[in-house]
């Protein structure tokens, strides 16, 4: 069925189906009506109508992140396209594969300030991995297939295809043009074997080694996670994961130290600071991880495996750079490790673990429990207790609740944790949960939210209702923009400028208005019952968990500080933040 005559809109649908897309998230409008007309006439592709275009990409991100497939989006020209800017940037920062189709005014009107015209490729150029304006029907099949290739290859990312209305209506020849090799974009998958051997030499001699891994493992696929576990267990080394990497290594494994970074574990950050060999696989030395760069892991030899050469030596100079896909490189590492019969320095390793156990004993996540108010940490501990044996997926919004969720919820498998890491997009989690639930209709999908973030995309409650998606929104409602308030308290003399959420809705009534089940807990004694009911109800649920208004998220590396200058709790807040630190976000 190589070449068939059809119009552009039919080609678009056909190419999506040929690319294995089964769900597309979107919102119609004038410039994409021909495509919506073709959608109407077929059954291979399911369309999910969101209530704001931003929600479409976030939903597709949730879908993509939880399945490993490319997420697909369809929106109209002008405002439809400009509403894509935030979520596309989100997908770019977190390396999520998305193909976003945007309508465009007919080619003869481009540049005329036509109704609902925007320079979509111009606007989205810096917030996509690549984008295309399809100027003729002849190039449409190639571009559609190339868009999927670019989105998922190498370091994944979002791709926009801008489709003028006349191209959608023009007749042409469709071919399933999956070409063997791209003209110019062919990312390197296999790592340089000499560099891998060099890395193994360092690893073999290490006395205080540490694996530091991130989202690259998850993007590489489940094989990379399996190989990572195998290699980490072979070496007996400790491992820490970034926010984006949670789930890449089982949280229950003894060698796992927990998340690192600004709100990471005391033991992880101290191990980063004191290690002598750092093995970074698929993480990018983000500023939330490194803290003050000059004081970042000062005495370590650094190995960095990344599929994106531009991530290497960007923030931190490394000793052994390896460009390649995590799974391929791990496979080579394990093979050579076994072939060379490498034995780590067990004596040094024992001493290192002893030191790590000392840090672990500080129990950095402890908090002051309360009988009268719900501590957010307590709510999440109880949530985890209730779901840990179930098939669950977690998404989050952005802020304190996100960090607590990363600390208190534990992931054994990749692709079960969806959060906005790089861009920090409030309003990400709820639409993302809808996308996850579309992909996993039988699973328990929970958006751990703050009340401020939830309000940013709460219109998607209608979407959840329309498609009967039983997502759970677990709001830790402290009536503040918690993380803003925390920084104002610690860094800005307790001047709480505009961070109090006045005039909040009654979330139970809000739930009611949309057809959700609304639940509320005010006292610690009510937490378990609310969680139990939330899980039991086979409908969308909105939980208003009224938590302590003043709780801060610890541990914390203050801006401009080093890993070994962590604050462990409220009593630890003594040293004022330096001028240099104040400038950082």
């Amino acid at each position: 069925m190589a070449n068939e005559e059809m119009n552009g809109a039919q080609m678009v649908i056909r190419a999506l189906v040929d690319q294995g897309v089964d769900v597309i998230f979107g919102y119609p409008g004038g410039a994409v009506l021909p495509i919506y007309d073709e959608l109407f006439k077929q059954n291979a592709l399911r369309h999910v109508l969101v209530r704001h275009e931003q929600g479409a990409v976030h939903a597709a991100e949730g879908y993509a992140r939880s399945t490993g497939k490319v997420g697909a989006v369809l929106v109209t020209s002008g405002p439809g396209a400009t509403n894509m800017v935030t979520p596309l940037t989100d997908a770019l920062m977190d390396s999520i594969p998305i193909v976003c189709l945007t309508g465009q005014v007919p080619t003869h009107l481009i540049g005329n300030d036509a109704f609902q015209e925007a320079d979509t490729v111009g606007i989205t150029r810096p917030c996509t991995k690549h984008n295309y304006l399809v100027k003729s029907i002849g190039e449409l099949p190639r571009i559609m297939h190339e868009a999927f290739y670019v989105a998922r290859s190498g370091r994944p990312g979002p791709v926009v295809v801008d489709l003028p209305k006349d191209v959608q209506q023009a007749k042409g020849t469709y071919s399933n043009g999956v070409t063997a090799k791209h003209r110019s974009y062919n990312p390197q998958m296999k790592g340089d074997i000499r560099a891998i051997e060099q890395a193994l030499d360092l690893i073999a001699k290490a006395e205080r080694p540490l694996f530091y891994c991130g989202g690259g493992i998850i993007n590489s696929g489940p094989t990379a996670s399996k190989l990572l576990k195998q290699f980490v267990n072979l070496t007996g080394f400790p491992i820490t994961l970034t926010l984006m990497g949670l789930g890449a290594f089982p949280a229950s494994d003894k060698q796992f130290l927990g998340m690192l970074g600004m709100h990471g574990m005391y033991e992880s950050n101290h191990a980063m600071h004191d290690c002598d060999v750092m093995i970074n696989i698929g993480a990018r030395f983000d500023d939330r991880i490194t803290g003050r760069l000059a004081a970042f892991s000062p005495n370590s030899k650094k190995i960095h495996v990344d599929i994106d050469p531009s991530s290497i030596n960007k923030n931190v100079r490394v000793d052994v750079p390896i460009v390649g896909d995590a799974a391929h490189v791990l496979e080579d590492m394990i093979r050579l490790w076994k072939a060379k019969q490498i034995r780590p320095n067990q004596k040094a390793l024992d001493a290192w673990w002893k030191q790590i156990e000392g840090w672990r004993a500080r129990d950095c996540l402890k908090y002051r429990p309360s009988d009268s108010v719900i501590k957010p940490q307590y709510a999440l501990q109880r949530l985890f207790h209730a779901i840990k044996d179930k098939d669950f997926y977690i998404t989050t919004e952005v802020g304190q609740h996100q960090m607590w969720a990363a600390q208190f919820l534990r992931f054994e498998k990749p692709n079960h944790w969806m959060t906005s890491g790089g861009l920090g997009t409030m309003g990400y989690g709820f639409p993302a949960a809808i996308g996850v639930q579309m992909a996993h209709p039988e699973s328990l999908v929970i958006d751990v939210a703050g009340e401020a973030s939830f309000l940013m995309n709460m219109q998607e409650m209608s979407t959840a209702m329309q498609y009967k998606l039983p997502v759970k929104v677990f709001i830790l409602n402290n009536q503040w923009m918690g993380m803003v308030r925390q920084w104002q308290e610690l860094l800005h003399g307790e001047r709480y400028s505009e961070s109090y959420m006045e005039s909040l809705p009654d979330f139970e009534k809000l739930a009611d208005a949309f057809g959700f089940v609304g639940l509320r807990a005010d006292k610690p004694s009510e937490v378990d019952d609310v969680i139990k009911e939330m899980i039991a109800v086979k409908q969308p649920v909105l939980v208003d968990m009224r938590v302590d208004k003043t709780e801060n998220c610890f541990p914390m590396i203050p801006s401009g500080s080093a890993h070994n200058e962590m604050l462990l709790g409220p009593d630890d807040v003594a040293k004022p933040v330096s001028e240099e630190g104040m400038v950082l976000v």
Partner: protein, 169 residues
């Protein structure tokens, strides 16, 4: 190695000659705060639709490495070559320089143009347009000499460069 030393590099980039490719390259430089000292672009292979962009940029060794890696990851980019570190290369720039003067100053401008091997490509009773090819430094030296002699306009192409020897990039 002193990582903080600012180096100047000439980078040659082979790209698909398609709409928006120059915007991608320029957007990369402005978005990430890299310097562009000069940039030239033109199609070099009409059958393959390839253009060559020559960029002169400056930064620390780490920044230069970033620039090359960032350029390389743009989808329509085929190759990125750092001519400054890949061996000897020839770099040339062309300038058109308009000088307005009469009498002794007019004669002097013509005399200096001769020394610099600039060609007169347009002349009126009180003006010359000189065409000159050479290194950036040579062009700048000539332009400086023309300032007191009635310099009114300069148009420069920016640097184009190519590696010496028989090897293709």
């Amino acid at each position: 190695m002193q990582p903080q030393t600012i180096e100047r590099h000439t980078i040659s980039v082979l790209v698909d000659n398609e709409a928006g490719v120059l915007a991608r390259v320029i957007g990369l430089f402005s978005g990430r705060g890299y310097n562009i000292e000069s940039l030239t672009v033109a199609e070099v292979d009409a059958t393959e639709h390839l253009s060559r962009i020559t960029i002169v940029t400056s930064g620390t060794a780490m920044i230069i490495e970033q620039i090359k890696n960032q350029l390389n990851r743009l989808v329509p980019v085929h190759t990125v070559n750092d001519l400054t570190i890949e061996g000897p290369h020839v770099a040339r720039e062309l300038a058109l320089i308009k000088v307005k003067s009469t009498g002794e100053r007019r004669v002097e401008s013509l005399r200096i143009a001769d020394i610099f091997r600039a060609r007169v490509v347009d002349a009126t009773n009180d003006s010359f347009v000189f065409e000159m090819t050479g290194s950036t430094e040579k062009l700048s030296a000539f332009i400086n000499l023309m300032k007191p002699l009635g310099l009114v306009d300069v148009s420069r192409t920016g640097v184009v460069a190519i590696a010496r020897g028989a090897e293709a990039l």
